[in-house]
Symmetry: C2
Subunit: 340 residues, 2 copies
């Protein structure tokens, strides 16, 4: 089960390794005759360049690393999809690692990828991560690096993001346009930037429409779960504050809200309108169908790889690379839960 090598082709053809290599890479200084002979024999032996040797020689692996908090997540698997597709188009393969939102694991994985000498790294930070040494290592070693979604503004690298604040504003504006007067917000955890930004967007939308902000209308999730949504929905009904619209941090929680409202016979959207965030699959199959904000996950993946490739090529030429920030558009998807 020996693999064919340049040497093997060279000796059977009675020429040098150099010439064989050149023939296969269409160098101009090899005659048509020998080129054809080489190509023919290479074909016959199913010759494939040994990528280990090529890597060593060229100092690149045509492989990039990707670290995300979790694969089993609608948004991230969409991004993964985009990255893989775009990478493959350009002859790159993708190694995926999962931090499970653990800073410690994330550090290990960065080290692994650096050690593997990937040509670049794309990453969405775990919640605990921020401006840590392992990230600086990447920059220090001048490894092309792109952050997406959960980013650290302190790290000077290319970034692909959405404007969470603007997206949230549009979602709340939509509720207002639908006639909602008293809008609650079920927000995410304290720390994550997107949680904060969506909250700020909610506030700004109220301001812009002259609606006074009322902090008792903001409910903070302890965890991003269906059950959390059920709980807050119950609380909202019990408090009976006259809330007629809810902007929820993400669809999963929003679906919990809908489930409880359905059970209690609350009319959605007529009594209370609901809008979520992220356009999970579940939002399209729930009754009533959930309005939400579309995050272009696939496109984010494509953009992230494009930026990475740009940096890879730029550095290859020895130039300095100026990090870029790409902000992708979101869009409100209006469905039954808010249409009135």
């Amino acid at each position: 089960m020996k693999e064919a090598t340049l040497k093997e082709i060279a000796t059977t053809l009675g020429i040098s390794i150099t010439t064989v290599s050149k023939a296969l890479k269409n160098y101009p200084d090899v005659s048509e005759k020998t080129r054809k002979a080489v190509v023919a024999l290479a074909e016959e032996l199913h010759y494939m360049p040994n990528s280990f040797a090529v890597n060593l020689r060229t100092k690149e692996s045509k492989t990039i690393g990707l670290i995300i908090p979790e694969v089993v997540h609608h948004f991230f698997s969409g991004v993964v999809n985009g990255i893989i597709a775009e990478a493959e188009k350009h002859g790159y393969l993708v190694i995926i690692l999962q931090s499970n939102e653990s800073l410690e694991l994330e550090k290990k994985q960065v080290a692994l990828l650096i050690n593997k000498r990937v040509d670049g790294i794309i990453m969405s930070l775990s919640n605990e991560s921020n401006n840590d040494a392992h990230i600086k290592d990447i920059l220090y070693k001048e490894i092309p690096f792109v952050q997406f979604d959960k980013i650290s503004k302190l790290i000077p690298s290319s970034k692909v993001i959405i404007n969470d604040q603007k997206a949230a504003m549009e979602a709340v504006q939509h509720l207002i346009d639908m006639g909602c007067k008293k809008i609650a917000h079920i927000r995410g955890l304290e720390n994550p930037q997107n949680s904060i930004d969506r909250f700020l967007g909610y506030k700004k939308a109220l301001e812009k429409n002259g609606i006074p902000f009322d902090s008792t209308l903001v409910y903070s999730c302890k965890s991003i779960t269906f059950e959390q949504g059920v709980e807050f929905a119950k609380q909202i009904l019990e408090e009976d504050k006259g809330i007629d619209g809810i902007f929820v941090i993400t669809d999963l929680v929003a679906v919990g809200v809908l489930a409880y409202f359905n059970e209690k016979g609350i009319q959605v959207p007529n009594q209370i309108a609901v809008i979520g965030f992220s356009n999970w699959l579940v939002s399209q199959v729930i009754t009533p169908k959930l309005s939400t904000v579309d995050q272009p996950s696939y496109e984010m993946g494509v953009a992230a790889f494009a930026l990475l490739l740009e940096e890879i090529l730029c550095r290859k030429e020895g130039k300095v690379f100026e990090p870029k920030i790409v902000e992708l558009k979101t869009g409100v998807i209006v469905r039954e839960s808010s249409m009135r």
Copy 2:
């Protein structure tokens, strides 16, 4: 930004490359004194072995390839999760490719992985794929290979599967136990093995309970979608055959059925009980909560990597490897949609 090498350490310490290499790998024939000096300097220079060179020398990359039909799918992302976790535990990285159910892409990707000289390949076949040349290539090249979920029985490799037939039988048995007398089956596409097996399981369960099989109670999906479920639910109500239980090929379609029944005020499970397959996230958040069959996706990933690793190690010692088949247990998850 020069990387430290063995040579660099050797020259600054005035010893040979050989000794440095041995010192770092704890060979017995290097004195304690020099070992400590080497380790200290290596630490100081942040020495990391150049994996390209190691790959070339050892002929292994500590990397495996994974080809799946699609990442953005609850089941597959679960498997991916298991594989990545288990691989990392053993020092392996995972390159993921997506066939998008296209035979052509699948072929290209197999070639890519072979060319990359991954240490092994794990794969779930696309629907069109069966006993094709590109798969045989893997075996011919003696690359460790494991199939999971969507497999070809014609390919003699290790496999990780669930018993779709048995799982389907149990699901239907559950409906019967709940008192269903006339049970319909919404089945999947014609070709895929799991679609066929689930159908056979449905038939067997009926037989076993002395219920005559009625082919007019079987509805064949043209596509695995929510809308398809809605459509068949409508048809079932219109036909009014007295159906009181439905076993559906997968949760997504089952949720479509539930949505239509909800809209028409059909009582689930009292008038018609419904059970799905795969335990998608959506099945837990729909109203009524959908009974389903749990596929241990994470465990399948773990098992698949374990088998692959076994083959890798076995072949490394030059032994012949005898393919193994692991069949994982499924379980019926009883929720509201069938509990009565």
